[in-house]
């Protein structure tokens, strides 16, 4: 049962990380344009360096 003292905090932290990640994507408007995002990945415009 000693393993539980490790596993429970780990599962909680991983779940929490997922939630924090979701909150971040929501706050930074990443769900505003799903169609556009799926098309932008095909563009080679910023392949060499990120958009300044």
């Amino acid at each position: 049962m000693q393993v539980l003292t490790m596993l429970i905090p780990i599962s909680l932290i991983l779940g929490g990380l997922g939630l924090v990640g979701f909150v971040y994507t929501l706050r930074s408007s990443q769900y505003e344009d799903p169609d556009g995002d799926s098309q932008r990945i095909l563009s080679d415009q910023w392949d060499d360096h990120p958009k300044p």
Binding site: M1, L4, I8, S11, L12, G15, G16, G18, L19, F22, V23, L26, S29, Y31, E32, D33, P34, D35, G36, Q39, R40, I41, L42, S43, Q45
Partner: protein, 730 residues
Amino acid sequence: MTVAISRQAPSACPACVAAPSAEAIAARAEALKDTRIALSLPTIHCSACISAVESALNAYPGVKDARVNLTLKRANVDAEMSVDPSDLVGLLEGIGYEAHELDVATIQSTATDKAGRDLLMRLAVAGFASMNVMLLSVSVWAGAADATRDMFHWISAAITLPAIGFSGQPFFRNAWKALSAGRLNMDVPITLAILLAVVMSVWETALSGHHAYFDAALTLTFFLLAGRYLDHRTRAVARSAAEELAALEVPRAIRLTDGAEETVAAADLRIGDMVLVRPGSRCPVDGEIVTGTSELDRSLLTGETVPVAAAPGQAISAGEVNLTGPLTIRATAVGQDTSLHRMADLVAIAESGRSRYTSLADRAAKLYAPGVHILSALSFVGWFIYSQDLRTSLNIAAAVLIITCPCALGLAVPAVTTAASGRLFRKGMLIKHETALERLATVDTVVFDKTGTLTEGTPVLSNLGDHSTADLEIALALAEGSSHPLSRAITTAARAAGIKPAQITDITERPGQGTKAKWQGQTVRLGRNDWIGAEAGDVTSAWLRVGSNAPVQFRFADDLRAGAAETITALKAAGKRVMLLSGDSETPVADLAHRLGITEYEANCLPQTKLATIESLSASGAHVLMVGDGLNDTAALAAADVSISPATALDAARVASDIVLLGRDLSPVADSLVTARKATNRIKENFRIATAYNVIAVPFAIIGLATPLIAALAMSSSSIIVSLNALRLR
């Protein structure tokens, strides 16, 4: 709206040069902030379009940042004040993309969907929390005992309490609102079940009991929030598309100050201002014509198709479209005081059809909520009498509430309306109101407006065959010298018949009258009856007179909207009563009714007459669908049980109606009635599934056999069955 004024570059605006203080103000505003420009791009569809549009816009001098949103088919541009939106539209059209400017103030409300984000956040919290709690619950169900079980329960409680406190708020708020108004809605049993489950579970945990319902409370919240979010999403999409339609008409006007033209926002016009209305544009104010002669198209206000002559001294109302010559107007009423807005007030007087309707979900809640509460209370009382044990009895009562909790019921309606609205959206219909589909399913009488609804509102020549080739050649030559809608109709029809224009000289257009020219030494004229010297008819017509010969009449009919005939046939085949109410005169209305096979029609209808007809139909027990586009239809649209307006309708009419038709074709109207009926049947089916599930599950709960595991399984499976049933609609 100060943006529109200060966007004017000082040097490009003679009025500002004349007034140095205004120039200073404009310069200061320019230094202070940038402007946002929104462009609608209906034809973009791929990544190549995105990068072409973005790089073109970003390369334009003065543009700071441009980003395309493909989902909304829109481009948002941050630019300096000096950038003129119409230049950007021209730029994009130059590289082959159709573009329209959108009114930023109108679309701002949907630019960030706050309520949607809020729901999504709560949904995410409930989802993540339920995953974690479920992980712990599975261990308990798998056989964790004693101290381990208690520890798992306590950790679950620590996750559940804050998660429910945050995620459950929409239900708690709605339930409180209903209770404080003395009503019951679906959120009351939901709230009670969630709270009772949490309180009972904490109590059980404190007494190191075997069963805790933390996972049930969380999954319940999660499923119900998913239903709410679907519902919200469907309507948000419809709302933003409807708002885009409104935003396409940027409310600008041309003000004349000491002879200089200045583009201002329509809201900034004052009484006494001189306003220039160019041919083809809509009058922004009520006023009096000062200079210019022209013809006015009043069809959106009154349904009349025959254009009205306009001359100095005559009154003009906001919303009328100027057809031929430029008009200068002195404003006598602006903004909210215009006749356009006063007529829209009729809408407020009409008892709205949608407020009379109780939604299926509310009706189900009215039966369901008291039922489960009584059942739960009875099982508590029964068990307390039988066992004299408060804890067991409360446990049973909570289990009954949780098992019966309307998880499937909460999904039953939104899952179906989402599927049905999506289907209709692809056919070009926007469902704006949440109960519109249910009301559409009950319709037995369909009332149509004529001009702009069953007809396109553009004239077509109807008696081409009656004329000699010589007359047609002269008429075509004269018509090509004018951009009047009737002239364009003659041109189109004559060209299609292979007529060549005659050789004419000295062609001049008299705005509001007609066109005059010389042909083989004779004067030839094409225009209005009083100018030509002919008798007025009640059909839209233009007259041709060669020298002193008798005038020749060119008659016009309104072009039928695509799909109009099919729609009427389909509606009649489905056994609906079809009526036509029009503000136009008897002959064109009778003619159209005859062509479409409509037997019940009424001409010369005032807005009040239309409203009264709809109300008397409703009073006699009919369920009325009103289809209309004009200002004279708005009251009738609001009073009908359900209403549809085409995208070309006036803003006021679109606001008053439940459904907006996006394409030019009318045929989705008949389809939508079928889809609505199917959707309503599916909703009722879902209610039956949910009830059947309760009938099976409740006895287990009452005799005390329901464990958290059974509750979780039953709840998830019924929710999934209901959602899958809704998907069958596609």
